[in-house]
Amino acid sequence: MFFKRNLGAKIALLPMIIISLTVFVGCIIYSFVYSLTNSKLIPVFNYVGFDQYERLFKTRKWDVAVENIFIYGIVFTIGCLVIGFLLAVLIDQKIRAESLFRTIFLYPYAMSFVVTGLVWKWVLNPTFGIEHSMHLWGFTWFELDWLVNRDLAIYAVCIAAVWQGAGFVMVLMLAGLRGIDEDIWKSLSIEGIPKWKSYIFVILPMIRPMVITSLVLIAAGVVKVYDLILALTSGGPGYSTTTPAMYVMENFFSRANLGQAFAASIIMFISVVCILAPWAYYEFYFRNREAKV
């Protein structure tokens, strides 16, 4: 009797249930279990406790990867939010050819990370790229050797990523700005408050949900950055632009060091959860409860 009720729905949801359990939950358990072993080329269950994690935190390359992801995360997030908000405000000024500008700012988002990386690799090429153009124009002091500079290469990655992602933030923010009541603008102008002040102190707090959504969506993408860096710098020069995702993939597929890869991937997973859990809690639990009251 129990199984017969809603039988159609139960059968229909079977793939979802199986995938959720085997892939989403199963893979995490699998990765965690094997991160406690010293598996090399093939996964073998040879328990070594948290040795892999200890080794991970002692590895210089992992330190560099973590440092890079912090730099990238901060620069990319702030860059996208600031430029995205600025563009949204500009577009919101009842300008001419608005849809043309919107199209221009958003098109990079349609490109793949690989394409983005390769294009910027060419533009920033120290021999033939922008630097060369500036030299030809007579600015011989101009230097733009970021891609071959160990300390600056990660910022080149940030520029490419902001170029790709800022338009998306603009769209989200613009939706927020267009939702602001016209009366608020009227009263602000009656009060004689300058426009830039109104935007920063009144409007920005009012579109907070959009800001938070953008922030979370961008931050969630930070940990995963892989293709972009692979195409732009291949992790170099040296390993100066390597990231946790690259570290994991390298240990899986080219260094045959499965235990390390599993341990690193579990750390990645934990950090994503730490970023997203507060937001998910707010979005799905808190909001739902608010809606019911």
Partner: protein, 296 residues
């Protein structure tokens, strides 16, 4: 939630003040910065190598050279094979079309079952499924590879289609469920009273009403799957490598003289489809990416 209220209200200011001229200058500068890489790609692909070496990156070509395009399309080398991007395009189509059909259908059925046929525990699994959207791919690729090997479909077309279906499922299920939950429940009740069962109601009542959300889902999946690199690299196998992987192989080739014009032509060819989707679909694209931003 995006784009409903996106139109500007009220008339434009009549007079151009100094401030507004400054603003226009600034926004045009920003637009030029955003357009610059696309422009550089285009002009570079029409230059010959001599001009690339001696000339200015930002100038239009002195003489149009059509050397790069046919080479990128049919002759450029990836490793030892010199067939250009053509096989990559075919592979990407072979991967994208079935993956989009399978994943969108699965998302629609899941969303429908969750919105109208709730049973005990269904939402627990829905929660698990959504949770899957936030797990980094790196945690799942290796175990998934093992699962696919056990099923005998690793490194094959069905293998990569299954992977795209799995990773597309959370977000597609979510957007279809939200869309169906916003439909009037009376409609469903009426169909029930008329004797409709699970499948009948889905095919005769729900599917005809699903056009808008299906467009969003298809755009989301087409651009997402076309632009994917990592999953194609690992799961598609040597014979089915998608365009993005082949592009990377062509450009990052270790030996021989780098031909930047061929590289740029190849880059444009690879981004053709998503750009076309973007320019044609416009506002739908915005809804699609906004819905899909939390994906893997």
């Amino acid at each position: 939630m995006i784009s409903n209220t996106i139109e500007a209200r009220g008339p434009r200011p009549k007079h151009l003040s100094i401030g507004r001229i400054g603003m226009y200058c600034f926004i045009v500068m920003c637009a030029l910065f955003f357009l610059m890489p696309l422009y550089v790609m285009l002009v570079t692909s029409f230059k010959d190598m001599d001009e690339i070496r001696s000339g200015n990156l930002l100038y239009i070509p002195k003489s149009l050279s059509f050397y790069a395009w046919p080479k990128a399309w049919g002759e450029a080398c990836t490793g030892f094979v010199c067939e250009g991007l053509k096989p990559g395009l075919v592979n990407s189509l072979k991967i994208t079309i079935p993956s989009v059909i399978v994943s969108v259908s699965l998302g629609a059925i899941n969303g429908y079952a969750l919105a109208f046929w709730r049973f005990k525990g269904a939402y627990f699994f829905f929660g698990l499924c959504l949770f899957g959207a936030f797990i980094p791919y790196q945690v799942m690729v290796y175990p998934l590879l093992k699962i696919e090997s056990a099923l005998g479909i690793y490194s094959s077309l069905p293998g990569i289609i299954l992977v795209h279906t799995i990773f597309g499922m959370p977000i597609l299920t979510l957007i279809f469920r939200n869309f169906y939950a916003s439909l009037p429940i009376d409609l469903f009740k009426a169909a029930r009273i008329d004797g409709g069962n699970f499948l009948k109601i889905f095919f005769y009542v729900i599917i005809p009403m699903s056009t808008p959300i299906t467009i969003v889902a298809v755009i989301l999946q087409v651009t997402g799957i076309w632009n994917d690199f990592l999953l194609g690299l690992i799961f598609a196998g040597r014979d089915n490598q998608p365009m993005t992987v082949q592009l990377n192989n062509i450009v990052q080739v270790d030996y021989g003289v780098a031909e930047y014009n061929v590289d740029m032509a190849a880059t444009i060819l690879t981004s053709m489809i998503p750009l076309a989707v973007y320019f044609v679909s416009g506002r739908w694209f915005v809804r699609g990416i906004a819905a899909g931003a939390i994906k893997g």
